[in-house]
């Protein structure tokens, strides 16, 4: 394992941890214990996850470059990183659509987390 791939794994773990906290807060909202929508703490955690997963992609790309001289084909871990980053990208943009604020954005956050978690188990 190179230093870059280790860094990639650390950023991925930290990013997904942030997204997991956001998903738990959104789950609480769906159960009626918090206001619906991504505003406030869920948005902060989702943004932190987006930034960390972006760092993981950059570190993973640098590692691939070092080893093979190119970014493609992606390793399974990097493919998962790209997927989870795209999921968070989608969740952050759902939040920007007025008609999707509230329950749809909350559902999208939880569904996105479930998709990323499911892909992690499937690809491991």
């Amino acid at each position: 394992m190179t230093a870059w791939s280790l860094l990639c794994a650390v950023f991925q773990a930290a990013g997904f941890a942030c997204v997991t906290v956001a998903a738990l807060l959104e789950l609480q909202a769906l159960l009626g214990r918090r206001p619906l929508g991504l505003e406030g703490p869920p948005l902060h955690w989702t943004r932190a996850g987006f930034l960390l997963l972006g760092l993981a992609l950059a570190a993973g790309g640098a590692g691939s470059w070092r080893l093979r001289g190119g970014f493609w084909p992606l390793q399974p871990g990097q493919r998962w990183g790209l997927l989870s980053w795209l999921v968070v990208f989608a969740v952050l943009h759902v939040h920007r659509v007025k008609a999707f604020k509230g329950r749809p954005a909350t559902l999208a956050g939880v569904a996105g987390w479930a998709l990323a978690a499911g892909a992690w188990f499937a690809w491991r």
Partner: protein, 185 residues
């Protein structure tokens, strides 16, 4: 007067059009491979086709195209397609022309959104960086495919990654922090 449910707001119609876009490039890739055109030649024809489609769209319906490319709903449709592509395509899927066509559309959307946010000032620096830096990454990847892995491609990709991450940090954390302290960012 605008139609009650214009195309740039209608996600199912956008998804159907995106499916057509992907299928078109998949079919073209098959045809070009059948003709013995591979690698750089295929990519050069892809870029020429993309430039032609872009120019035709810009000349025929600039307002329609601009509204579509800057629509958040269209960004969501593109995100859904990219997620499906990463889920369903094999490890070599991203090398296909259809995947490059999805990325080209995403880059065009991000550049259009950047153009829409004029006039530019420091308060929008994060947003602008986040929406222009990925294009640098894609340009770097394109350079690598044309000229082989080398310093220019690495520089473009590295600058794009750094710009994107700095833009995110500015938009999500530094700008709100400065705002809270009463300074105009």
């Amino acid at each position: 007067m605008q139609a009650p449910n214009p195309f740039h707001e209608h996600m199912p119609r956008q998804a159907a059009a995106m499916a057509g876009w992907v299928l078109f490039w998949m079919a073209l890739e098959q045809v070009l491979s059948g003709l013995g055109l591979e690698g750089r030649r295929q990519l050069a024809l892809f870029l020429a086709g993309l430039a032609g489609i872009g120019a035709a769209g810009f000349l025929a319906a600039p307002a329609w195209l601009f509204n579509l490319l800057t629509s958040v709903r269209f960004a969501l449709t593109q995100g859904a397609f990219l997620i499906a592509a990463v889920l369903l395509a094999g490890p070599d899927g991203p090398r296909g022309l259809w995947f490059c066509a999805l990325l080209a559309l995403l880059a065009a959307s991000m550049l259009a959104v950047t153009w829409k946010r004029r006039p530019y000032d420091l308060a929008r620096a994060g947003f602008l960086l986040v929406h222009t830096a990925p294009t640098l990454v894609l340009l770097g990847a394109l350079w690598n495919r044309f000229a082989g892995a080398g310093a220019p491609g690495r520089w473009l990709i590295g600058t794009g990654c750094a710009g994107f991450l700095i833009g995110c940090a500015w938009m999500f954390y530094l700008k709100p922090l400065l705002k809270r302290r009463g300074a105009r960012p």
